[in-house]
Amino acid sequence: MSLFKLSRTAGVRMIKELFIGQFLHVTKATHIRGPFFKYLRPLPQAQVQMLQGFKWREQRLYSTSGPQDGCKEENDPKETISVTFVLKDGEEKQIQVPIGMSMLEAAHLNDIELEGACEGSLACSTCHVIVMDTDYYNKLEEPLDEENDMLDLAFGLTEMSRLGCQVIAKPELDGIRLAIPAATRNFAVDGFTPKPH
């Protein structure tokens, strides 16, 4: 657990350092990155993954795969979990997410409108999601200070809030439901018991 945390912190730091030197690359390359918006034609998944070979991204996937699931650098693409997103209008969308992938990436690959202004580098809070079930919330690693700092600023924060870019698919999360907060929505009535902090 603590090892896991350490590796994640190191990952974050590495991303930061990489960014300082590589801002240029990131800026240049990312516009081909994802079917982020409706008006960009989505690429087939395989192609997107191929195009995503930026250093910082590999780094993060690598460092977040954690000791307990072993370092799966070459993920078996068939190992997926099922994740349900509850969209802003209440509609639900179930998708399959490969182990090791963040919910932000998964959402974008599946055309789900989850903002990700900083593209997963823990600097924006726009990828805020709410875990709909306490059991699943408790299966997640505790948020790092860096994530909590961004959560402080998240719109419509609840006790079950997390940042989508920091929730990484792992087998125990199979069946998790994540809501994308909307200004008009009252989560208290959506049937979850808040976890005491």
Binding site: I20, Q22, H31, D145, D149
Partner: protein
Amino acid sequence: MALFKAREFLYKGFSTFATNTKICVVGSGPAGFYTAEKLLKALPNAQVDIIDRLPTPFGLVRSGVAPDHPETKIVVNQFTRVAQHQRCSFFGNIKLGSSISLLDLRDLYHAVVLAYGAESDRTLKIPGEDLSGIHSAREFVWWYNGHPDCRNLNPDVKATDTAVILGQGNVALDVARILLRPTPELATTDIANHALEALQESAIRKVFLVGRRGPVQAACTAKELREVLGIKNLHIHIHEADLVKSPTDEEEVKNSRIQRRVYELLAKAAASGPPHSDAGRRELHFVFFRKPEKFLSSVDKKGHVAGVRFEKTVLEGSIPGKQIARGTGEFEDLECQMVLKSIGYKSVPIDGLPFDHLKGTVPNVRGRVVSNMSGDSIQLEEGLYVCGWLKRGPTGIIATNLYCAEETVASICEDLDKRASSSSFSSSPKPGREGLIRALDNQNVRVVPFSAWEKIDSAETRLGSLKNKPREKLTTWEELLKVAME
């Protein structure tokens, strides 16, 4: 055609009748770009033009966000995709109010959204405020971020070892961090070269961050605070006595997660070891419960600041979140030769625009500009909207402008629908982009399109790569326009 239909269906409910709606967004900061993005999605037939007074887009993401926060600036990727959308255009070097009047702009478009931010400062209105050596944090930030309007600010960081920053918001913390961070760490950021060179020779060793209220009310957020507290070889000074909480304070920290976490960080920093004096070490002092009374002028350097006189304060009021600082009549002087006022930004009014001079914002109802509010009746300016800091005042992070834009765009769509169904609208085509270009041409305004910004962008990144910086910003109007027009 089939595709077109499908789209219409997708965006049902939103102005499906309005064909060729021409909308102009003024200001290309987060508010402007989020507005454009949401408009393009909501109105499949709208043409959206974004204009900015600078040759460069992105507002405070370029000229406000600190150079050592590259991750925060990644959002420009998203904004770039918006600018490259086929129904969207960016035109730089167009200043509303001088290149074109608001009246003329409104004639050219069905709707105009003002998102031109807050480009002036709140003032303290105390004696000595115009002494030299006193700058607003806004100018100082523009200086280190290479905004062409502050290229020649030249704050004198060599002549003094002490700087006082008034205010304890995130901007104050950014400024303190830039003054105190070891320069080798700044050298690999996109900090303006003139600022880096000045800071490399900086004599500043002590920075005071002064707040009129207590640590519970500090306006900064945990992320920024953690960062400044973590600067290498920096001694943090906080008076333990200031950390004592009143029952109302206790209530505030209980109610607000941000305040609680900020307070805890400050308390932890205060507790972690007494500073042993070590020559050359840098110091950061958090000073609470002091409000500026007057600026002291120097005896030997005429017209220059030599210090700040503060009045001690206590908090008044028992409603959590609403406590205010009241002076106690006790005063204290703090010597320094540089003062940075970081007490908030303020928007600038424009001819023909309703403006609340007290708040420094445009009166509006969910983004619709209000021309007259007398009693219960509200009169709206047809086709005129606001978003971002101009609408809400100068607070909030980048993401706040996203929700702000959602609200404004919802209002625009509702109004367009209403206008469309009253049928007068469809029969009134507007010149939009072509009309704008023609009008500017007549005024001899040199427009900088997005492709010209891309030239600036690549010139900057190329210059930066020579120095291991993500970019070396062009910092004068001449250079920017020269590269843009090449």
